[in-house]
Amino acid sequence: MQRLQILSLLLWVCALFYVGIYLFVGGFLLVRLEVNRSSTCEDVLLPGGQQRDFCHAKPRFRRAVLLVIDALRYDFARFDRANAAPRHHENKMPVFEETVSSRPLHGRLYNFRADAPTATMQRIKGLTTGSLPTFIDVGNNFASSAVLEDNLVHQLVRLGKRVVFMGDETWELLYPKTFHRSLPFHALNVRDLDTVDDGILRHLYATVAGDDWDVVIAHFIGVDHCGHSFTVDHPAMAGKLAQMDGVVRSAMEHVQNDTLLVVMGDHGMTDAGDHGGESRKETDAALFLYSPSPLFPGPPSKDEPQVVPQTDLVPTLALQLGVPIPYSSVGQVLLPLFPPHRSQNRTGGLGQSEALWINVKQVNRFLKTYSSMAKDLPENSLSKLQVEFSHISAEYLASVRNGLPPSPELVVFMQSYLTSVRETCQATWARFNLLKMAAGLTVLLFACLLCFMLSELSRVLVNESALLKANVAAALSVGFCVAVGQLFVWGHVEVAWCLAATALVSELMAFWWAYQAKASTATGGNRAKAQKRASWLSLHSFFVPPLVVLLLRDASLFSDSYVIAEGHVVTFLVFSLALYVPIHLNWDGLLLSPNHDLHKPARPSPVALSPVAIWKESCTLLASVGLLAGSLYLSLFFHSCWEEDQASCKPSPFLTPLSRLQDGQLKNVHCILALASLSLWTHLSRRWLRRHRILDSSGGGAAFTARWILPLLSMCLGLNWAVGATPEGSFRNVAELIGMAQVALPRTIFSLLGIGMLLLWLDPLTVFLKTRTAAAPGPPPPHYRATISIGPRTELHHLVPPDRARRSTGDGKSGGGRAEMDGRPAVEEAYGLGTVYSAPLLLFCGLLGVGLLLLHPEGMALSFLLLLLETGAILHTHASSATLGHLHGRTHPGGLYVPWTPVVLWCLSATQFFHATGHLSTFPSIQWDAAFVGFPGGHASGIALPATLVTLNTFSSHILFAAGCPLLLFWPLVRGSSWRAREEEEEGKDFAMETRLRENPQRFGSALLQLSARCLFVHGTQLFASACAAAILRRHIVIWKVFAPKLMFEAAGFLVTSVFLLIGIALVMRVDVAVGGRFKRFIPELSLAQ
């Protein structure tokens, strides 16, 4: 078997997928680090170290009313007198135009430009922090959506201002328990236009008229919902806008002289009513500033900006209300609101240059902090900005020292500095990179096709080792050329594009190479085979039921409802596929009685028609399908719930850890169930190993692991649960002991697991060796055979009568090599070769399962047991259908190739158990408790360990199914059921089981490659589909809530799956090496054969 060749091929395919993920995610997910520092009043932000207490000076405005009208597009607020026939959304809000023209010093309307992503939650964050929120703001609050970054609301509250909030409940999620008074309203669905708005209007005027507030925030949602439900140009929109016009009018009447009124939209919308992207219609909202006292120093001048970025609101409001600018704001104060020079009586607040200087210093401080934390802002622009800042600083301080007002040039210079900071940040944080996304999708698509090709042409490709090297070398050199080219043209290298070029070239070359290989075999091989291969990419081969099920699964990723109901959808599909197996077999006439097949051509061998055997196999198959269906159904009881579904769905009671259960009785029941399933898990794996006599094998790491470590592990785990379940404070005198056990037991499990894996890797052979002195005359024949699962060890001797042993080797292939054995005094008999590959793999999965169970709540032990049963059922179904095919002589008995149906079943089950272990594709549903298993006091340093633990917890089913994937290949051989053993025994054939793989390294290798390629294909298409969904639906209302997290989980799941698939394959290779070594000792000429 070409071990390295297979591994490198798989590694190469995985690498292509990784490049695709990297490219797509790089273009789609905008990541930004949160700086968790806050500005304080003591920050020396005023010129020359003047220690004036900024916060206690009298601000320009004492109070402010913020009316946020969701999705108030700029052109909704405009009024065009020339427009004689306005459409439903035009000219419905004349209040702004009237105010601006009649009282230019009091009010002004701006185009308030938002930054992508233009989703409400991100915009609210942006409007309060003054920063550019992205989809993932990496901070320390992954579990909840509360804003921890420094922001305007926190600054106001910290200075004792009473902030009253009413309206859309998103604010309450972002700022829990922050407001002085909070009136959140819940819209029933997107068609509900009035609940929230009417709720606000019941309270707004009364609140404003009262005196129990400093800042009122009211968030109206009706316009946005109107857009989503009815599009922009609809009578309902006219009504809604007219209502808002009235709201603004009354608010203007209610506010007093010391109050600033801000009316704004948080984003716009397309004409279809969607938002989320960065087209002008989505980003351009309206901003209206008004105060009964004169707000602006003069009438609007020509050079005044018409477009105001949304980040600019925060510094402006902060300075107008007399609070420090939030730490990570990158906005720029709105200059027209500040008098050109500071007024002498100090009541008008700050002057323009003062405000700008405070702003510049704050932005520069943020930039320094951020660039010390993250490296995503480009170096060269940072250093350029730093030079500009030192220049500004020197000039400003000089002018202050001389007592002169700063020159107008300096003001312009400061403004341009702030603008360029903003632009630098925006280029990094707030833009979908469509080109990168497209490149990522292309790479992913080609990688999927490549997997399909590998699986169809595995026989041919497994031999061509030189081609892979040539391919990779050529692709890398192309990547290098691109890098050099970039260096010449742009002056710097962007790694993403080099990788994209490398991956694409590599993939295209691989297709060409496959085409060549196909052509060469077509001319060389026989006609029928060539024809069969020639059609590997025809549509026909795609439309077999398992692939149709996969297609349905991929299609389901494009709908948010299906993504939310994913657990049920996948279970439905898996069940459909499971039912398809017996129906299909029956359709082919392979199931149950073969009596109607009599008029067919005679069977190739008489064994094939043994009705008892067929009956038995059919019953096994139906029982396995039944077991599969049962465990599928039961697995539905372990699901968790989406936040939206709280009303109709209750999370599984088994998800609560024992220590948090209040009811003692329930606790006992859960505890007993968990312990029972754990012991059943261990018992089942040990039983299998005992049946195949692994536990008897002589010495060796694997046997030791199976005999001692596995039971010890489950004992430790059971103890750990028992300790964890003790109610707090019940055993006061042994509290210290309990605390110690909570640390020691999980760590013992981790180390036992490590030792077990290490032993398994070092000595994976589970072979029972027996040395027997040669008693018979003549040269002692070397003999190897598989174990049979009947009788204890002593009986096993008698199954190998010496004369039979001699005969079997006599017509075996080791004819010429016996002479070399002559010198040996003894015959070595190896038992257990029949399961030599599957036993270590199964043991590995068993160990891994116990380890992963440790990271879950105790109740999940039941779900893990179901997982074990389901894998067993799938394996048996697969094995039985393969045997039935063999019995009827339909498939070649030596056929190792795993068909699509079991592979798709296997891979979809991974997703199914992802849900059945209480996980969902959302960030709040991650089981964070896993990070503290064995570390109840938290982690001292680094996030690597907790992150690993949480990843292992989240993708435990992916891990188990990926690592166990090669079992699909071995099972039909292992479970060559006892009847066949007996029949072949009678025929004098050697009952070979997995040793057949050794005899056929070529076929073994290609079957293994095909199996892994198919597995990667199934997972890869899901990844591709979810990436496509994210790209196509990037304007969808729930993109950041459903599709983007789904993509992240799918990508992470793929990474984990591929890694553990490679580990599983590597373990098989390791066994192969070890067996090879053993064989060399037995039969040297056999090892020469490869």
Binding site: S559, D560, S561, Y562, I564, A565, H568, V569, T571, F572, F575, S576, L579, I583, N586, W587, D588, G589, L591, L592, S593, H596, D597, H599, A629, G630, L632, Y633, L636
Partner: protein, 219 residues
């Protein structure tokens, strides 16, 4: 002989299809407040009853069912009892399968069972009429070379389309469109009836166009 059989089958199917039509329209005319969505259970039972009665009477009249070997009353009675038993077991079987597919276990058990009854009347009853109470023959019919007459082939096709229709009917349930036909089990039962009707149309057509390739072994 060939064409005659196909024609007989086509007319039987036409009768069945019109029964489906009448079972939907007639109660609407006769009963006040009847609607397919609103009183869905009633519609399902109307459909199941009408299709069942028509199926049995047509096949009785045509004499398709395999001839009985004995003509004693006791034998006939036992056949009848066995048929009823099979029908009931088939209802239970469909109910189990539908629940395993993810239907609510307790909440709408009546609805689920009604769907099972409908599916039984559309599929198992036809099996009974064509093949008699003989599970071996049922299993045999659903294999590639198992059909032994035009009726068997049509049975394969209609049963397949009915089941696939019900399966496809489950697809719109999770969507958030809030339509009345998304309520369990409306879409599934409608899917199965639509599948049944399309099977009734498809079977004669398919057989007609493939009559050259179709060769049946004698029973």
């Amino acid at each position: 002989m060939w064409d005659q059989e196909i024609r007989a089958m086509a007319s039987t199917h036409a009768i069945l299809a019109s029964t489906v039509f009448v079972a939907t329209v007639a109660p609407k005319v006769l009963l006040r407040g009847f609607s397919v969505y609103g009183t869905h259970l009633l519609w399902m039972y109307c459909m199941a009853g009408a299709v069942g009665v028509v199926n049995v009477s047509v096949f009785w009249l045509l004499g398709i069912s395999p001839p009985t070997k004995k003509h004693t009353v006791g034998y006939k009675l036992s056949r009848l009892v066995r048929s009823c038993l099979y029908l009931f077991l088939s209802c239970l079987f469909f109910h189990t399968v539908v629940v395993l597919y993810g239907a609510p276990l307790i909440e709408s058990a009546v609805e689920t069972f009604s769907l099972a009854v409908l599916l039984t009347s559309l599929t198992t009853l036809r099996c009974l009429c064509v093949l008699g109470p003989n599970v071996q023959a049922w299993i045999r019919v659903f294999s590639r070379h198992g059909a032994m007459s035009v009726w068997d082939t049509s049975l394969q096709i209609t049963t397949g389309t009915t089941v696939i229709g019900a399966w496809l009917g489950a697809f719109p349930i999770p969507l958030d469109w809030d339509r009345p036909w998304q309520v369990w089990p409306v879409s599934c039962s409608m899917g199965s009836v639509i599948g049944f009707v399309s099977g009734l149309v498809a079977a004669p057509t398919w057989i007609h166009y493939h009559r050259k390739q179709l060769t049946y072994k004698c029973k």
